[in-house]
Symmetry: C2
Subunit: 296 residues, 2 copies
């Protein structure tokens, strides 16, 4: 198997075969094109990258670091400990901190317990009626936005990739949660001064490509045992693996087109308020995080 660019031995084949060097160039160029196409960044932006320590978020941090001078923005990295025993990992903070130190990227760290000032954070998962991953995701989004704003950033970047987007689309579309669907874009604009725009630079990269990118760049990752690509299995993963075999281009074609369309569901437009307790933006009087805290 030869690299389609330089004809040396290829080490990865997703849609085409590449040697490690040509793959890195190809991958970074694709992200660069996406950033331009959807105007994800502007000169002078201060972007907070949310890094869990896994392959996706570290790929996101690395590629935004590489393109920093090209687009003239600044970056910082936030590593957030979610305080869930299965998801927390002693090594994670060190891995992300070391990554930042080597590159001179400002490193921030906090945890659910520290940021929300709750000593027994596991109780918040018990009082929530959502599944644990849903509560975790909701609190993460709350902290990412507020932490970024408090630290003078104007955008939040996450490592969501094509595999995440398409799975999320199918789950939500099948369930009729249309209000989510239109957020599955490379860029989610702000709808309130307190809510920062979100960017997803890896929108049309595949998980397997992120894995190859960190491997070829010799970036150390800290994998969470709960959500690891190679261990987790739900029906949608099986379905997408089947589709990958039959139609290798499908996922990338689908998300590329999903970015282009507007999907309008029958849900009414929500009204937004400032939470009476913390002042963050919510569609209720008290935001979900403060509501859960009050139940502990």
């Amino acid at each position: 198997m030869k690299c389609v660019i330089c004809k040396r031995n290829a080490e990865i084949k997703v849609l085409a075969s590449f040697c490690p060097d040509c793959f890195i160039t190809h991958y970074e160029r694709r992200v660069e094109r996406l950033i331009k196409r959807w105007r994800l960044v502007n000169k002078g932006d201060r972007i907070l990258i949310c890094v869990s320590g896994g392959k996706d978020s570290l790929s996101c941090a690395e590629v935004l670091y590489r393109l920093k001078n090209r687009f003239q923005y600044e970056i910082g990295v936030l590593n957030l400990d979610v305080n869930i025993p299965q998801c927390s990992n002693e090594r994670t903070k060190k891995v992300v901190e070391e990554f930042c130190k080597e590159r001179g990227i400002p490193f921030y760290f906090t945890s659910f317990a520290e940021y929300l000032k709750i000593s027994e954070i596991d109780k918040i998962f018990k009082v929530s009626r959502r599944p644990i991953c849903g509560t975790c995701g909701m609190i993460k989004r709350y902290i990412f936005n507020r932490f970024a704003r408090e630290n003078n950033f104007n955008k939040v970047a996450t490592g969501h990739c094509a595999d995440d987007i398409i799975k999320f689309f199918f789950k939500n579309f099948e369930s009729g949660y249309f209000s989510w669907i239109d957020k599955l874009k490379p860029f989610t604009p702000s709808f309130h001064p307190k809510v920062l725009p979100r960017i997803r630079p890896l929108y049309n990269c595949l998980e397997i490509e992120n894995y190859a990118y960190v491997k070829f760049k010799r970036i150390e990752i800290a994998t969470c045992v709960m959500c690891s690509y190679f261990t987790r299995k739900d029906e949608w993963d099986e379905i997408f693996r089947f589709i990958d075999e039959k139609k290798p281009q499908f996922k990338l074609n689908f998300v590329r087109n999903l970015a282009e369309v507007k999907i309008i569901g029958p849900d009414k437009e929500k009204e937004y308020y400032e939470c009476e307790i913390c002042g963050e933006i919510t569609d209720k009087k008290i935001c979900t995080v403060c509501n859960l805290k009050s139940k502990i």
Copy 2:
């Protein structure tokens, strides 16, 4: 396996188990609910049902015949011979004509060659750059609409079911043909006085349910060897069979939600004209059918 309604022996299990009688009632009620939900029919409508002689279109004709008095509309059936040797079947006309005769439904018949006044119809497939099924579908839509209007009908009904809709959605969405996507609804309104509204009463019925419906009602069908459910195989059929195994509710949930949303792509709104040759509605000066005829 017992019927979930009457506890007699069940003969079909799709999402629940039914005996033949309860299945027929359940199936017809679901179609009735869809007709009401999307206001597919009005009192006094004259609906032309396009019947190929297969399980889907004969299910459509039978159920619209059963609900005729309930909603006070009139129906007629058109059987169109497409003059493709692999798709034409001597028996088909007799089967459809007999079905109509037994029920007192006005029966219409024409063929591509007769209606378009072309003696060598196979040439039209040769001069077309589309695949044969694409050309066939395009000519069918042309004739259905024009024939219905010329015979004083005000709506066209087809037997498209959930399996057709979802497959069409995926193919077109992946390819970025967004203008099609928004037509994948139970009801397509008219956009010009010469273009009749289209209704798809089997929008949330499954192919396998249509098969059971004609079987339990002992309706004779004439199966085309090209498109038969049990013989045709493309990658999407394999993918949907896999999804059916993993998530039996997926197809029905998906189309139900697809009916609810509006999908707006980046395509510009088309302008429509009357074809300079035949007067039918087209987005060019000469419609595609007249253009193909002129090339023979």
